[in-house]
């Protein structure tokens, strides 16, 4: 028990759920917001920006990296994180399709 029954669902459903899960934490949204704002691909002074411990931020960064939404390049002892543009657009259109699959037809006639 307690484990998601992925085999019951389609590839698409599982994938969209995974992406949503990556976004489903305010810290990770804050990280993305900050990476977007400071286009220059800022590293982990996210620890100062956001009020969480260094280990926690690092963990959130890893989760974002795992779904491919950000990428990091080593620069001396620091690491430059930034949005992965292609992946971002991919995810963007995934969500777009999801939301548009409904909007077409219906009024709330329930």
């Amino acid at each position: 028990m307690g484990v998601t029954q992925s085999h019951l669902f389609t590839e698409d459903q599982n994938q969209l759920a995974l992406i949503a899960k990556a976004i489903a934490h305010p810290a990770r949204i804050a990280i993305l917001h900050h990476l977007i704002k400071t286009k220059s691909c800022i590293n982990g002074d996210l620890v100062l920006e956001i009020g969480l411990a260094q280990a926690t931020i690092s963990q959130h960064l890893r989760e974002l990296k795992e779904v491919g939404i950000i990428q990091g390049t080593i620069e001396g002892t620091k690491i430059n994180y930034c949005i992965h543009a292609e992946k971002w657009n991919e995810l963007k259109s995934l969500f777009q399709h999801f939301f548009e699959s409904y909007s077409a037809c219906c009024d709330s006639s329930c």
Copy 2:
């Protein structure tokens, strides 16, 4: 420990995270897909459609109801669930804004 530090983030960040969390499970996406496909606002033969137990489906429906993305109307002993159109559009534009806040400017120059 173990509890999300919501006070560190903005209203917007917390809200978007909550919505993402509602979508962040393939069963809930499958439910939404099914409600969209059968416009006629089908009730809980979702239990047959999806392979999960009745109690589990009911729990997922509640979570979707709690963020307002679906609504249910009692109809005898059954309940008609359907997408809540206005909320859907609200969420749609929230995600749209989020994804568009980046797409404007950047290439993956990291």
